[in-house]
């Protein structure tokens, strides 16, 4: 026999279930933010340090992006395959990041054309992605990361290219890693 619901119980049940559904579709525990935050921050700091030490090919450090891309796509595919729920939010977030990724690839392809000022441009593209993600999952701390990346981009444009790596590294720590760890702490299961 089913329990008779009062109006208040009905409302409480609706709220509880919507919250549960939201938790399930709200994120990947910040996995992608943490992965890319660590990799790009290390690459930027590595590039900056190697350049200061006089190493001839400081950009070699960026080879780390190759395994990171493989891990990122593999993990994203695994999460999508195992997902028991499809949501509009997850779909939109995926589409946004695909376009951000495409934008970054185009920027990197035309580095000489933009005078090797690719770092601030990439920060702008990433900032848009982080801001949109934060807005969709309604986490202001993540949105703030997006704002910080845009501010860092503006600062980067005012500095010489060699110093932009340092700015980008710091921006990745503050704009990617901090929101990433915040999502992880808050037990978000997927993004």
């Amino acid at each position: 026999m089913e329990k008779e619901l009062s109006s208040k119980e009905s409302l409480a049940l609706i709220t509880e279930m919507i919250t549960k559904a939201k938790e399930e579709t709200a994120g990947d525990g910040g996995f992608q933010l943490l992965l890319w935050g660590w990799v790009i921050a290390l690459c930027n700091f590595g590039h900056f340090t190697l350049e200061k030490l006089g190493y001839e090919y400081p950009y070699h450090v960026w080879i780390l992006v190759v395994p990171a891309s493989v891990i990122s796509f593999w993990k994203g595919f695994q999460i999508a395959r195992k997902a028991r729920v499809k949501s509009h939010i997850s779909r939109v977030i995926n589409q946004v990041w695909i376009m951000v990724f495409a934008g970054i690839v185009i920027t990197l392809a035309f580095m000489p054309v933009i005078g090797y000022n690719q770092n601030p441009v990439i920060l702008i593209l990433s900032g848009l992605g982080i801001w949109t993600t934060g807005s969709l999952i309604r986490v202001n701390f993540v949105r703030a990361g997006g704002v910080l990346l845009l501010v860092a981009a503006a600062v980067g444009f005012m500095l010489p290219v060699s110093s932009q790596h340092l700015v980008s590294g710091v921006a990745m720590v503050l704009g990617y890693l901090l929101p990433g760890y915040y999502l992880k702490e808050n037990c978000r299961e997927r993004v």
Partner: protein, 93 residues
Amino acid sequence: MFKPLDPLLHSQLRLAVMSLLISVEEAEFTFLREKTKSTAGNLSVQLDKLEKAGYIGIEKSFKGKRPLTTCKITKTGLKAFEEYVENLKNYIE
């Protein structure tokens, strides 16, 4: 003026299912069972009632070798749910 609450939705398990489905595009049977803490048998019966009313669509397929049941809310279901919530507000106010 109080309008009567839709009896199909004014039931604990069916309302829980509709509230979950309203938030997502589609959801697997196992997800609904876990979140509503119901038994497979009871959930199947209630899903069947919601489907017959045209409130949800049920699709049966396979994930690898395992059978997969996926549910999604229909436009009729969405409208009914919105009306239910609207009427519910009147009862509470």
